[in-house]
Structure formats: C-alpha cells, structure tokens
Amino acid sequence: METTDRLMLGSVEQLLDEEVGLVAFSHASNVLGTVNDPVKISRLVQAKKLSCKILLDASQTIPHNSVDLGKLGVDAAVFSGHKMLGPTGIGVFWAKHKLLEEMNPFIYGGDMIAEVQQEKSSWNEPPYKFEAGTPHIAGIIGLGTAVEYLQNQGMEHIWQHEQELTAYALKKLESFVDEGWLHLYGPAGTEERLGVISFNIDRVHAHDTAQVLDHYGIAVRSGQHCAAPLLSRLDLTATARASFYLYNNKQDIDTWVSRLGEVKKVLL
C-alpha cells in the first residue's frame, strides 16, 4: 500500500511467480473507499504469462456503479446480495464459461449431475453443476428483484448520487479535521473513491462513537470492518464508518455531521 491509501501496483510484478495459483483483489476497499483498477491489475498479471487465475471481489462496486465484469480482464468475480438491497445468505460467483467448464464441483447433490451409472457419473453443465441440492429460492428471487430495482434506478445515476454526497460530506467535515478532533481515512477527494467515509473522533473509541450516533438514529458501522490486517497496517484499532447509498440525501449527512460534536461532549 502507498501512503495515499492506494495499492502499490509496482509491487505486483515482484510478487508473482510460478507458485502463485490465484491473484485475488478487491475492486474497492470497504474501509477506505479506494477503488482499484481491475483492468490495470489484470494486465500486469497477464504480462507475466503465468497460469494463475484472477479473482475480483466486486461486492463493493457492483451495488454502486455500472460494472461490466466481462471487460475487466478477470477470470472470476464475486459479490453479495445483502450489499445491494437484496436478502442475506445469497451472493453471486461469476466466472468465464471456459473456466466453469474446467472446474470441478465441490458440493454434491440434486441437479448437479447429468447422468449416474453404477460405475461412473457425469456432471451437469454450468451453472447447474455448482448448484447442488435445493437452491435458496427465496434468496434468488429477492436478489433478482433487487438487481432489477437498481437497474431501473440506473447504476450511473446511483454512482453520481453517491459521488455528490461524498463530496458534500468531505467538504462539511473539513473544518473538524482542521480543528484536529476528527480523523478521516482514505483518499482525500472523491476520485476513484466509493461513498464510504471511515473516521475517528480523537481519543474516542469507534464503538462509543457509533453508540452515541445510534442514539440519534444515525447508523454507522464500527470496528475493524473484517479487515484486521489493513487496520493494523494503518496502526488503528478500529474506525467508525459512514456509508452512503441511493436512499441517503444531503439532509442525512447534515444530521450525521451535526451530531459528531455530541459524541465529543458525551465521552470526553
């Protein structure tokens, strides 16, 4: 990682050799908001002419922007339903058809076999060979509806909206940062950055910040955000994080920003 909270792409080349089987990276950081460029990273990997596959974690970007997975140079990608207005317990594994054909199933059950004989059996075609047993039907329908809903809203529109809110929030927070009691983490501007803002109030634990904000009906996440190695790299124990989506507006941000001082008042 560079100090600007961006990945150090220069090191990709050195890290790769014949031993590497899979290159996996996130399209965007759920902690810092940093958006990575999969095309650039894939090119660096492919230039090494190795047999490794490339997997993209698109859970942070698919819900917020128009993403054409087939054009990113990656072999496979994943994203979850609950981060895009869908139900919990469901997500998507996407891969190039050729790769799906090469891969073996790892769960056995109904629908994943084409033919069963006494001595041998053959797999059904993708995606069925990876979907053994009774599917999560309600989840699938719910996620499908969420996708439709988001697409009707317009993914570009959602991205624009979030960019606008992020710029608005960063501007409003500036004076607190200047006064020295608010710490922000992540890229300085909105360029190549998601609508998430990780923050800490000086000398206040993120859990306490979140609890006081919760009292005023403001939901932020606090903790290590399932990214302990990143937090320790940043020398932090925890952060609070506000994240914006299509249902948020500038008034929400005003409410959040106006209560940050309250956190200080209660705890310091």
Partner: protein, 117 residues
C-alpha cells in the same frame, strides 16, 4: 442513553486501575474484533479476592465494565466469581446494554475467570 453519568465516571476514572505489587493470579484478554485489551491481576487469600488491579485499552463500555466488576468482586470467593454471567455484568452497568456491546462488557469478566482458573 447507555452512557449514564455513573458509567462515564467509571470510564474517566476507573477504579483499581494499575498493577498490584504481588499478584497471585493474572490473565490477559483481547477482543480481536475491535482491538480491546485488558491485563488483569488478582491477589487472593483463603479463596477470596483481596485486591484487584487492571490495565486496559478499549471503549468506554469495556473500561467502565472493568472498573465496576473490579469493585464488585472484592471479597467474593472464587466460586462466586465462577458463577458470574453476562446478566450480572449488565446489572452492574445499570441493566441496559444492547447486544452489539455485550462483548465489550464481557471482556473484563473473561479475564477474571481466566485468572482464577
């Protein structure tokens, strides 16, 4: 609100904070999900807690809980402490604690139980 004056008072001025001269039992506990840490020291005599000392890093809830529990266990027997549960900690904290903060409040009790094991 959860942060009543009593809780904040224990957070700002934790009781029994610091090290003991000659602890008979001690333990360290950490909450990996938020980075909270506590180092706890006890001095037991005839199966009862004589002195308690702790140093900790964490949120207001975990520090206040540590302070309140450290007061509570003084004079208690090892058996009495072993029987303490989450509900007892919540009661010490005034009876109100949302599930998201249970781990924070339990950390000191876990340290005490580990120490007397």
């Amino acid at each position: 609100m959860l942060y009543r004056d009593e809780i904040l008072d224990h957070y700002r001025h934790p009781q029994n904070y610091g090290h003991l001269k000659e602890p008979t039992h001690q333990a360290k506990q950490a909450n990996a999900s938020c980075g909270d840490e506590i180092a706890l020291e006890l001095k037991l005599s005839s199966g009862r807690v004589n002195q308690v000392g702790f140093t900790a890093q964490g949120c207001a809830i975990s520090l206040a809980a540590a302070s309140l529990i450290s007061e509570h266990i003084k004079g208690k027997t090892v058996e009495q402490i072993a029987r303490m549960r989450l509900d007892d900690v919540i009661n010490l904290m005034g009876g109100e604690l949302n599930p998201g903060r249970h781990k924070c409040a339990l950390l000191p009790l876990q340290a005490i139980k580990t120490a007397i094991k």
